[in-house]
């Protein structure tokens, strides 16, 4: 086996791959060979580093130098300078935006400094397609320990003591779920991994599967040992080809090593994992809908009880857990329940992964202890609001959650606090909005999504949400009345109380929370027929101020519909009949001459 002294880690997550990280890997490998270093230097494609904003990311081991926004053309220089001559390539180092200082080691970057990585412990550190690298970081030790040294009851007790709660959104105690499944008598049981991440703007499950698939395989096997199931099923979105591929490789390697299959560790316990594809339906994140989908049916939810733990896939007891929940299991068994429960708040233990996105400087995947405040996440790790704009709101919990505002910024994040504030944890999407976002339009956007994704089985969700959407449409086009606002709230409450499953019961949350926090914006739409954020097109018209316009012609050139006319050095004019109100002219004008009325 080759003895490498240096490693080049390149992010192979979806975000960085979209910015040509595969090409960077190819070029780095070629450069390493060209310089005759192939015996000492290995180029490794890892999972997501999390710092997507600055991708593609390249990290040098052992000195931990962190290069950002690397281009394929930089490969030669990186190898020649960094590896051959031992000099850092300064122009590719991360620069702290506040101090303008270059930072060499990722450990000292604010984005990472404030994080605690438990579920993401291996993402960005190992080659996810090589089981040996996972084993080298204590992989499969927890499985061995559970099977050979502990009884299923002991393992379940450890998980219960740790206080781990379901990371898919509901927050049900994981240990308790395992115990319920264990206690049901049946000839066959199933263990399911819910990897149907449907929240638009959340990508933590995918990143874990892409960056550390073996941790899921290991945790599912532990779950099987505890609940008495010998079959595992991963229900994964077909839209995640890279995650599927890496998971398949992981399952194959685990089988070759005897960590899956018959008689694992000579204990008589057998366990196998198969993959089932989702086909694009948000509701399938709900347990009962997911199970119907795995059975080849429409993914419609059914009434609980019976819970899947009692009667699930093909009628057999089925334990369904989310990807991130599984990713925590091996660490809990290795470091102990006491260690895990020392992190977090009284009722929410451990850490939570968030996909931080929207109008924030550092978009990416982060993991923080429960109890961290929104301010620390958005301003500390996220680096504040993009383009120096003002913070307005943050939506947690995706389409099922609500928006939180300035007054919630110092709220410690945990399941119960978020619920009390009118939102929810959800799977961990966190979308930041600035002063330019219209909250009425945001509520309409989420309703748009819910209407499309409603399975149609129960009337409150199928018909009610459609009506909510219509009222919002009326308001954003300037035709709403004050009566509409009352109707909106009443209907939202009815849907919340009467819908069949989690999707319907939570779908009015974006409406209710924006009404609670931004009622003045709703009033501006219905009273003054005005959108204060200039987002609602029917209520917005663009004009050019002739006193400010220098006639530089830039707006006329960028206008996609050629609605702007005017000679060079003469103030320009927008033809309101032609204008599609895209706002490009306003974004591009260097003299602030374009304004909205």
């Amino acid at each position: 086996m080759a003895q490498y002294t240096n490693y080049i880690l390149v992010c192979g997550g979806t975000g960085c791959r979209a910015s040509q990280s595969e090409k960077i890997i190819g070029n780095l490998k070629a450069a390493v060979e060209k310089n005759g270093l192939q015996k000492n230097v290995q180029v490794i494609r890892t999972g997501c580093f999390g710092f997507c904003e600055k991708g593609p990311v390249v990290k040098m081991i052992p000195d931990n130098t962190f290069y950002v926004q690397v281009q394929p053309g930089d490969a030669d220089e990186l190898v020649k300078e960094h590896l051959v001559k031992g000099r850092k390539v300064e122009r590719l180092l991360y620069v702290n935006p506040e101090t303008n200082e270059q930072i060499l080691d990722s450990k000292h970057i604010d984005f990472y400094k404030k994080q605690l990585r438990v579920a993401l412990r291996n993402c960005g550190f190992i080659n996810p397609e090589n089981i040996d690298e996972y084993i080298a970081r204590d992989g499969y030790v927890a499985l061995g320990k559970a099977i050979t040294e502990m009884t299923p009851e002991e393992v379940i007790k450890e998980i219960m003591d740790s206080g781990l709660r379901g990371r898919g959104g509901g927050g049900f105690p994981t240990g308790l779920k395992w115990q319920i499944t264990r206690k049901v008598q049946a000839s066959q049981k199933y263990v399911v991994c819910n990897a149907d991440e449907g929240d638009p703007g959340a990508f933590m499950d995918r990143s874990i599967l892409e960056g550390d698939p073996h941790s899921i395989v290991e945790a599912m096997a532990i779950n099987g040992y505890c609940t008495g199931a010998n079959k595992g099923l991963v229900y994964i979105r077909a839209e995640y080809p890279l995650a599927v591929e890496r998971l398949m490789i992981a399952i194959k390697q685990a089988k070759e090593y005897g960590l899956l299959g018959d008689n694992i560790f000579g204990s008589g316990f057998s366990f196998d994992i198969e993959i089932r594809y989702g086909a694009g339906a948000f509701v399938c994140g709900e347990e009962t809908a997911l199970i119907h989908s795995m059975e080849g049916l429409r993914g419609e939810a059914t009434v609980k009880p019976p819970f899947p733990s009692e009667q699930g896939y093909k009628g057999y007891p089925t334990n369904v857990n989310n990807v991130e929940t599984y990713a925590n299991i091996p660490v809990i068994l290795l470091k102990g329940a006491k260690w895990f429960s020392s992190i977090g708040t009284e009722k929410s233990k451990g850490t939570k992964v968030f996909a931080l996105a929207g109008k924030v400087n550092n978009v990416g995947l982060i993991e923080v202890p429960m109890g961290t405040t929104l301010r620390e996440v958005i301003f500390g790790i996220g680096g504040g609001i993009k383009d120096g704009k003002k913070f307005k709101a943050v939506q947690t919990g995706g389409p099922s959650g609500g928006c939180l505002t300035e007054k919630h910024l110092d709220l410690p994040i945990d399941y119960d606090n978020l619920l009390a504030a009118g939102s929810m944890m959800g799977s961990g999407g966190m979308i930041v909005m600035d002063e330019n976002d219209c909250m009425v339009a945001m509520a309409k956007f989420y309703l748009d999504f819910t209407v499309e994704e409603s399975c149609g089985k129960c009337a409150p969700c199928r018909i009610g949400n459609k009506r909510l959407h219509e009222i919002l449409q009326k308001i954003t086009s300037g035709n709403g009345t004050e009566d509409d606002l009352d109707r909106l709230r009443n209907l939202a409450m009815v849907i919340k109380d009467t819908a069949l499953c989690g999707l319907g019961q939570t779908s009015p949350n974006p409406v209710l929370s924006t009404m609670d926090n931004f009622y003045d914006e709703y009033l501006a739409h219905v009273h003054d027929h005005r959108c204060p954020s200039h987002q609602c097109r029917e209520l917005t018209q663009y004009y050019i101020n002739p006193e400010k316009c220098k006639g530089c012609t830039l707006c006329a050139r960028v206008c996609p519909v050629h609605a702007i006319t005017g000679d060079r050095k003469v103030p320009h004019v927008i033809d309101l009949q032609v204008c599609i109100r895209c706002g490009t002219c306003m974004d591009k004008c260097k003299f602030d001459a374009v304004y909205v009325h």
Binding site: G13, T14, G15, R17, A18, S19, C52, E53, G55, G198, D199, P200, G201, A202, F203, R206, S207, A238, E239, Y240, R276, Y277, G278, A279, G280, A281, F282, S293, M294, E295, G296, L297, R298, G299, K314, A355, A357, G358, K359, V363, G364, Q395, G398, G429, I431, M433, D437, M442, F445, Y446, F449, E452, C455, V558, P560, V561, I580, C582, G583, T584
Partner: protein, 162 residues
């Protein structure tokens, strides 16, 4: 409804796919995935063949096909365009990008251009939120899109030609 005649070799392949899944109704979604991979879409004839092999009513197959957004009954363009309308892309202006594609191509979401070159769809989150707004065309990802970039991006494909 028009009947299209599927090539016999592909029909044979479809029967093989069903057989490989033991003609098991529980495998319907996996079979539909494979069938869509084979034909590019799931026309009525394909659904009828699958229903017969799996001994299911065609209505059941049709119900599943129309339930999931991944399955389509209309053929896609040579270069399928997907505009991400996930929340992260939405707040960074994805809707305006979508409007511009509709305007330039003169089609609506879910349609295919008459020359068969482009089809336009929306999707929810490809997970490259750092690059929002994101558009994928025939698998290639375009990040930080703006309405003004649409024309340039499309012309890349017009140049590749039919």
């Amino acid at each position: 409804m028009d009947t299209i005649h599927l090539p016999q070799t592909k029909v044979e392949e479809l029967h093989t796919i069903c057989a490989e899944h033991n003609n098991d109704a529980g495998e319907l979604i996996n079979i539909l995935h494979a069938a869509q991979g084979l034909f590019g879409y799931l026309p009525r004839e394909v659904q009828e063949i699958i229903a017969a092999d799996l001994r299911l009513p065609v209505s059941r197959v049709y119900g599943v096909v129309t339930f999931y957004s991944f399955f389509t009954m209309t053929p896609k363009g040579k270069y399928p365009i997907s505009v991400c309308l996930g929340t992260a892309c939405y707040v960074r202006g994805a809707e305006k990008v979508m409007d511009e594609f509709q305007r330039q191509l003169e089609i609506k979401v879910g349609e295919t251009t008459s020359d068969g070159l482009f089809s336009l769809d929306c999707l929810r989150c490809v997970g490259a939120c750092g690059l929002a707004p994101v558009v994928t065309i025939a698998g290639k990802v375009y990040g930080r899109m703006t309405p003004e970039k649409v024309r340039d991006v499309l012309s890349e494909y017009y140049m590749l030609g039919e």
